[in-house]
Symmetry: C2
Subunit: 300 residues, 2 copies
């Protein structure tokens, strides 16, 4: 089975070198905070773009006085790249808004990935100004890859939430579902958070049964995607079922159906052309669900 | 490529039905809190076993007065299964101690999985009594699958931290490393947390380069494992490299080396017999690293 996805993964492929060895070295970080250092400008959590649709990088002089700065890493000229932690309850979060949807369609992949990583990180900082263990204030540490409690000294690390997202196959058709909040006619892969105490495969099986009443077998991993709204790791999988009966959980889905390969191909071609498919609207190219559908039709 | 791991996954395969639909229904939970309900007895975060090496399930009458109770799900007789949130800074956490290591060797797989899921969950509760957004107290909600801030009403969900763990292959040999804290002669797969803004494959590549100076290609997913110390999702992968030169990061590893298939086979057979291999000591059966090594030698 070909496991390499045939479509690119949005939010993957940042060119910034995370330079892990620098993070724990305050002198090394200070030495990078020069006039050459770059500051990724954000509007709350939203991206700020230039008229040419590039990320609008400024300099550290643009940061607010006393702002907490996160060290993102080194660019390809070994300049330090930073981003400022926004105030509590920043605008533009935690879900994707118009500025982020626009960035997904216009930014070069490496820049979109740099933005996504920065957004997930500063969004985490903005939501973790206090210690969950004791309730006292936390401060940024390790170049922004940690927060430390000012009272009990507990170390807190950026959170990444694993989410399974899966297509299920039965007699050559694919199970896709529709959430009430989706655009008109959109159907997509089912998805849900991995919980404590389960494998990826168990999470796929549980979520598919909970949402659609379908029991799966032979779960395989296809591709993953960092999704910074607010900080998910989407884990894309494919599975099979021997029983096509669907019982939807109406608190999660308003519909779920089996689609033929021809319908999926037509829907993918339509959305890649900026249209809605005849049978249904496919997820957009920057969603890992799109990659899963494209992978399924391409492997034949 | 055979993707089904050939060894069982410790902490997977709980028989408890998570019964997601019950969690948000206080009346349904209350109706399950009968004399038939089961309470998983813990000592801090450590498991309590019967003389027959089973989990020591009691009844809700064993819970402390006013204790927060987590609804784990339904057993195969549809009885409610619960566990009590321990006090702050519970004994036995967050890393695995002697009682947990013992449980991994003596508990039946389904019971070990039930314990692991419960431990990860109540450990999260014990570390999240306060709101990271505003610093005020939180209270248990949704049967223990949420905590809610008593001041700002932010909803907090149990945390699962994705970790990549990977074997790397070069000219038929496998890269394994040794951390200073390992038992004598133990070598295992390299590993590290997935960070915001990267795919699983990018995390594998970054960690392998950071820890061993090795650039990988063709990363494939092999198997995953919930690891409740404190709440990781281990994502086991395999990759290849075209350059066998190793440069270790001495803050992470004290050694890393290439091992032949024969050495890995001998080490696995030795540890499965309770011995240390001649070339090196393999990771124990309950570690997903063991599953990765067994998968690699079995696929030939």
């Amino acid at each position: 089975m070909l496991l390499t996805p045939s479509a690119p993964i949005a939010f993957a492929g940042s060119h910034i070198d995370r330079a892990d060895h620098v993070r724990g070295d305050p002198d090394a970080i200070a030495a990078l905070m020069t006039a050459q250092a770059r500051l990724m400008r954000l509007d709350g959590l939203d991206p700020v773009l230039t008229p040419d649709s590039l990320l609008d990088w400024g300099s550290l002089a643009d940061a607010a006085s006393g702002a907490e700065l996160v060290f993102l890493g080194l660019d390809d000229e070994a300049r330090g790249c930073f981003v400022e932690v926004p105030p509590a309850n920043p605008s533009g979060g935690p879900h994707a808004g118009p500025a982020s949807w626009n960035a997904m369609t216009v930014l070069e992949p490496g820049e979109l990935a740099a933005y996504g990583g920065a957004r997930a990180l500063v969004g985490w900082h903005a939501r973790h100004r206090f210690c969950a263990v004791c309730g006292h204030a936390t401060v940024l540490a390790k170049g922004g890859w940690q927060r430390t409690c000012t009272s009990c000294a507990t170390e807190h690390f950026p959170r990444v939430d694993p989410v399974t997202i899966m297509t299920v196959e039965h007699e050559g058709k694919l199970l896709l579902g529709r959430q009430p909040r989706f655009p008109a006619r959109r159907y997509s892969a089912l998805a849900g958070f991995v919980e404590p105490g389960e494998t990826i495969e168990e999470a796929v099986a549980r979520e598919t049964f909970e949402e659609a009443g379908v029991r799966v077998r032979d779960v395989t991993y296809v591709a993953s995607q960092p999704w910074p709204f607010p900080s998910s790791l989407m884990i894309g999988c494919h599975a099979f079922t021997d029983d096509g009966a669907i019982t939807i959980d109406t608190t999660e889905l308003e519909d779920a159906r089996w689609f033929t390969r021809e319908e999926v191909v037509e829907a993918l071609e339509a959305i890649e052309a900026g249209e809605v498919g005849r049978a249904f609207g496919a997820p957009p190219k920057y969603a890992v669900a799109h990659v899963l559908l494209r992978w399924w039709v391409d492997r034949g």
